[in-house]
């Protein structure tokens, strides 16, 4: 399987010991050698002392999904030696810190074990305890540079960029890199059979995580109010927004801010703040994860029922309750689609990677204001927190926000009477006014029963007229929400349907299945409600599989509920242990089903 520019390796370390910077260094060095690379951080919900892993996949073909097997494991955490040794593919390599003897029980047949005394070397080379701990990571990066043939000029350049002005640190890092590099060169046959060779495949690409990309989208869309409550894995989104705002939104003369970020007391308040801001006319958003979505339900229903725009980024994590906060899943689909009590249905965007996070973040604000309703951007931990290789983000300077139907004083002067919820155009969207506008524009937002004039009602017909309009609005949205992405292969009798971050693994699986003689068409759903293209794809194949990361086949349920497709016509492939999806899971499940093997 593995070969030149086509392999994967992973580091098992203890969290809080500084391995993240070494891992980032490795990733970026490979990227700068022009070779496609992806990193997955498998980290604990903890600050210091628990096991953490970092998986790097090098793929000359540009595959970005989590690898199905690992060629080389760097085992630096004694508490996980057993599982780290077990993770190496047959014929693969294990690199461990030989400052301490490796338990003979852990030595496995069929793999090559390499020992380098990183700890010992660092104790000898460095005076300070802190340096000894932190630089051990840089030392293993140096060893990997030798074993995998990473360009040392690139590594040197990166260290200079990072520590250029801090001479002591720069020298210490160079020393540490050399410790590992020189030891490996002197003691092992370098490079290993699988290694790196310079390519030219990352020229127009960047390495970016989805949270950063969403935040950048919010900045570019002109969002001015962000409210949030810290929660893994969504926290970095608002922190990135803050960082970009400090760079782009501070008035040069006065130092004052063209933005407002409110760290709320809880997610309920965060939802209230963005809804208040949306009502007042700002582009506003919150970033949260499943537990936050649960807390926001009542407010989401209010915004839906009163036609108020706001954007909710849901960086999904694993499980109900607290669950596994640092693991990924796509298990909020149903709770987003129908959030709140009463009859409610919501608009959702499903980005598949950080580039689409940026684009959909911008789009979400347009859709929210155009349809005057909450819009969810359903990302997940894997997209949100991991570095993905994507095409550089681009911006069209002709973009102007779609503010939807807003009547200002001038427009109000021309209408005889303003009634907040009268559907003049037949698209379910009624014109709104913003508080502060004079004349006849004032109206009363009420979560209680209201008629189309926004007046209180307990009348059946008047109530139904309003909620029927909301239903029309939703149906209208289905025609303009982002279309699914469909990749067809000639003669395909198998349809693969997926969503969000599963895309990378499913597309890779389609290639692998084709190599096995199974042609597939792939449809990645990009929005809820589903448009006609989604309906047309379903039922067009002999076999249709729905691949998603939750236990209960939530996407399949939504397709069945909203489109009336019989559930049994769609075979679920479910992966919900919290790890990013691998192509192997999909290939094996499809192949087994087609071969008649029960799931």
């Amino acid at each position: 399987m593995s070969g030149i520019n086509d392999f994967s390796f992973k580091m098992g370390t203890v969290n809080g010991t500084g391995s993240a910077s070494a891992n980032a260094l490795l990733m970026q060095a490979i990227f700068r050698m022009g070779i496609p690379v992806t990193g997955k951080n498998i980290f604990p919900s903890n600050i210091q002392g628990l096991p953490t892993w970092y998986e790097v996949r090098v793929s000359k073909d540009g595959y970005t999904a989590r690898p199905s097997e690992v060629d080389l494991v760097v085992a630096l955490n004694p508490s996980t030696y057993a599982r780290d040794v077990a993770a190496v593919r047959p014929g693969g390599y294990l690199l461990y810190d030989s400052s301490w003897p490796l338990d003979p029980d852990l030595v496995r047949e069929g793999i090559t074990v390499l020992g380098i005394p990183f700890g010992k070397m660092c104790v000898e080379a460095f005076e300070k305890d802190r340096d000894r701990t932190l630089l051990r990571n840089i030392a293993y990066a140096g060893a990997l540079a030798a074993l995998l043939d990473i360009d040392m000029d690139v590594v040197g350049q990166m260290l200079t960029e990072k520590f250029g002005k801090k001479q002591r640190l720069l020298e210490a890092n160079h020393t540490a890199i050399r410790l590992g590099y020189d030891y490996a060169k002197a003691n092992f046959a370098c490079p290993l059979p699988f290694h790196l060779e310079k390519m030219d495949a990352t020229g127009d690409a960047i390495l970016i995580d989805g949270n950063t990309a969403c935040a950048l989208g919010a900045v570019y869309a002109g969002a001015t109010v962000g409210a949030w409550y810290p929660i893994t894995p969504a926290t970095a989104l608002m922190e990135a927004f803050k960082g970009f705002c400090e760079r782009f939104r501070v008035d040069k003369e006065t130092g004052l801010h063209n933005y407002a970020i409110l760290q709320a007391e809880d997610e309920l308040a965060a939802a209230g703040i963005v809804i208040g801001a949306g009502w007042a006319g700002a582009r506003s958003f919150t970033n949260t994860s499943g537990p936050g979505i649960s807390l926001m339900q009542e407010f989401i229903g209010l915004a839906y029922y009163t036609d108020i725009p706001a954007v909710f980024f849901d960086v999904q994590r694993c499980g109900p309750a607290t669950g596994m906060p640092t693991r990924t899943q796509q298990a909020d689909l149903i709770s987003l689609a129908y959030a709140s009590h009463g009859d409610t249905k919501h608009l959702i965007l499903f980005p598949a990677n950080p580039r689409e996070c940026f684009e959909m973040a911008v789009e979400s604000f347009d859709i929210a204001e155009r349809f005057q309703t909450p819009v969810f951007v359903a990302s997940d931990l894997d997209i949100g927190m991991n570095d993905w290789m994507v095409k550089r983000l681009e911006w069209d300077d002709s973009y102007r926000p779609d503010r939807g139907k807003v009547l200002d004083a001038e427009a109000l002067a021309k209408v005889q009477k303003f009634s907040r919820y009268v559907d003049v155009d037949g698209d379910g969207i009624a014109a709104r006014t913003l508080p502060g506008v004079g004349g006849k524009g004032a109206y009363f937002v009420r979560g209680s029963g209201h008629d189309k004039h926004a007046a209180y009602t307990e009348d059946s017909d008047a109530y139904q007229e309003v909620v029927d309009r909301l239903k029309r609005k939703f149906e209208h949205a289905a025609t303009v929400m982002p279309k699914p992405e469909i990749h067809r292969r000639a003669g395909a009798e198998v349809g693969l349907v997926t969503i969000g971050g599963c895309d990378a693994a499913v597309r890779e699986a389609a290639d692998k299945l084709e190599a096995q003689g199974i042609a597939t068409d792939v449809m990645r759903i990009r929005a809820f409600p589903f448009g006609a293209e989604v309906r047309d794809f379903l039922g067009a194949h002999e076999h249709t599989f729905v691949i998603e990361q939750n236990r209960d086949a939530q996407l399949r349920s939504l397709l069945a509920i909203e489109l009336g497709i019989p559930r049994d016509d769609m075979v679920p492939i479910l992966d919900y242990g919290g790890m990013p999806l691998t192509a192997k899971v999909v290939v094996d499940a499809v192949a087994a089903h087609l071969a008649g093997v029960p799931a």
Binding site: R32, I206, L207, I208, L216, V219, Y220, A221, G222, A223, T224, V225, A227, T254, G255, L256, H257, N258, Y259, A260, I261, L262, E265, D266, L268, A269, A270, A271, G272, I273, G276, A277, G278, W279, A280, G281, A282, S284, F299, L302, R392, E394, W395, D397, Y399, P401, T433, L434, P435, G436, G438, G441, A442, Y443, F444, V445, R446, G447, S448, Y456
Partner: protein, 351 residues
Amino acid sequence: MTSIAKPPVRHPSSRTNGLGLTLRDYEGAMSTLCAGCGHDSVTAALVQAAWELDLEPHRAAKMSGIGCSSKTTAYFMKQSHGFNAVHGRMPSVTSGAAAANRDLTYIGISGDGDSLSIGLGQMSHAIRRNVNMLYVLENNGVYGLTKGQFSASADIGSTSKKGEANEQAPIDPVLLALTLGATFVARSFSGDKKQLVPILKAGIAHKGFALVDVISPCVSFNDHEGSTKSYAYTREHEVEVVHADFVPLRREITVPETNEDVSVVQLHDGGSVRLRATAPDYDPTDRDSAYAHVRACQARHEIATGLLFVDETGRDMHDMMRTVPTPLIDVPFERLCPGSAALDKLMDRFR
């Protein structure tokens, strides 16, 4: 929130304010609260205060949660935008609206259930955030709409209509606000319009969160003997410790000068409030002494009223966030979007 529209009647002899509007222009829909409800008196005081302040109706936003008190935003200033949010969560909606448009006057109406039970967290954090708003807490010690359950402001020993005595300690919004750093803390009584109107005016003019706790008896469920929030009990136990007169910037000072000690606090908008302590040694600009005094009154079963504490030097939400003076909704898109050249440059950081 039921409401019945009032016929727009304008008597030629009606007095007008600086904007040429009559008192009636500041009214709203017909109240559907019980006859004699304290809340209707608070509404009338708000109408009076807004009219006297020459407040442009469309530049005010009426914010409320859920409950009898929260219904009253429909009963005044019909030309203002209103937002009837979810129970206990008006403070967050107002925070967001104020963040987006700092130029509107935000008038929040809440009750003791809405603020002290389900909304205790939201009210507390709006105080900490120092949102620039008037926050009127119409306090009757009871849940009216659900017919008579004790609220979190019910005093120990106060009895329900059925005779059951409350045993849990009350939450006093005034003490709470003082503890949380509120910069404007007042208590009044719905039956004392003379005291209430200037407090509401000063609260609107105050820069920052202005809490006005108004004892506002519930005639249907908490106006009986044994209740400590009844009209009779409040009248008997109310002690005005500070009298406030609001002096707007635009008008000459018409408040009669007295020989008593009067302290003048300049308000942000240029107006001022003249505070006349009726209790000896009371300093309404000293948080600790205000707190101690309210506690001492409580121990004597007295209800301390008046503008109990004011600090006009506090930093409000926008000061703390360092936002531009222009409302964020009016900042042009060109100033918000960094553009393609900046993005292109930024992308190099991700290589």
